[in-house]
Symmetry: C2
Subunit: 271 residues, 2 copies
Amino acid sequence: MCPPHPADPEPARGPGPDPGPDPNQRQLLRELLTTYADLNGSVVDELDEEPSPLEFMRYVARNTPFVVRGCASGWEALRRWDRRFLVEAMRGKKVNVAVTPRGKQQPTRRIRPLLPHLPTTVPFARIALDRAPDALNLWIGNSRSVTATHRDGYENLYVQVRGRKHFALLPALCAPALAEVALPRPPGEGPEPAGVPFPTWDPDGVAVGGQEGVRGGEPSRATSSPSSWSRTDDEGFVLAVNYWYDMDYSGSLYPLTNLVRNMSFAQRRPG
Amino acid sequence: MCPPHPADPEPARGPGPDPGPDPNQRQLLRELLTTYADLNGSVVDELDEEPSPLEFMRYVARNTPFVVRGCASGWEALRRWDRRFLVEAMRGKKVNVAVTPRGKQQPTRRIRPLLPHLPTTVPFARIALDRAPDALNLWIGNSRSVTATHRDGYENLYVQVRGRKHFALLPALCAPALAEVALPRPPGEGPEPAGVPFPTWDPDGVAVGGQEGVRGGEPSRATSSPSSWSRTDDEGFVLAVNYWYDMDYSGSLYPLTNLVRNMSFAQRRPG
């Protein structure tokens, strides 16, 4: 499920204690992606009904996404929400709208008038993870809406209400293939002078129908992408909600994927 | 829960494409161990009753061990097994006995006469992992018995029947601290010319009562150490059985811990 390792030319090395990009290290990262690809299929499970809490926990343990068909078919949101209803329900209410040059999405959280149409939690996830969701977000978009490739520290249950959404999901350990570079941080924002790591590899070419594509975004499906990389783009008028359950930072997964991200980022830095 | 990174002196580097041990890589591995230690306690959960399949799956997802007190109190083995009973039950039967210079243990699997006294499976594990155990082993030892630090590809449910056993359990990602070296393979055994990786760091100093010690081996307790490193030593006459459930090689854990092991092993190799 990882894209091929980008065949970037090796930068020249400078003197000093930092040997910069290391062919051995690059080889170790290549082996990581190959081992993962050998042991994991590129097909995402599609379930016809909700998993039990135990079945869900097996996906969490493998850090692997899945799709449930029709899981929201009984929701009032699915029956009642459309463009006209939203205009009525939110009339006179302030909402945050993200206007960005290329339609990169931000979620809307001020959706109190809409909450009665949504379950407050996803029972199989609440029972399995033994916690309430940390956030419930509303996503409104159209065919120009794109969410840049990113990673959230959440078990993410994404429910499509209207329209279609295309997901490209990449395992957390795919960082070596994402070619993150340090983008400058806006002035006065954050203490880190080195900038914000940002993936520059674009999964567009394989986002729909290809190995990397997860066409989970049809109405009333849910996709879970626990702490993996994801990128979405919308088709037509799109309404979706998602439930964020805090991921468990204990255990081995977070420190290990953090190591891989640090190794990969170091590979992009000239010596 | 990881021991400190061994402060081995940096070997001299040779010429050629292999830069050998890399101070950056060593620093990345140090950060891995520190991040893990910051996010995880060094205390192993002790449960007063068996976990449910879902609770067990949460431990599997975190790749974290636990102890159950009294979980085998109803077993016939616990009531009937002692030195005299074993001699009677196994009279005339062939068993494998591992005689090694320093008492390193090997399990005994030819225990058919004893099986009626043992459950054939551990229900919470069978339900959670959706599989039968791959093996059921019997361990017989005394105060000179030691199992060298090693790693098994199993979810391991270890049940102490007689005596006490001291466990040192280390997370799978602790490979950088174990100082593995390549030991020569016996002639004609295996294709790998480079030898067998073997941990040389000895957790003896902290195995009992220290941070690394898990005193889970009193009668009728079970310890699970999913694909982690473990080392045991016995106290007095010891009888124990364990159930091996194949670990799940899909998902991210195996490729990631394999990467760390390869990185750590490379650090021990002079350039």
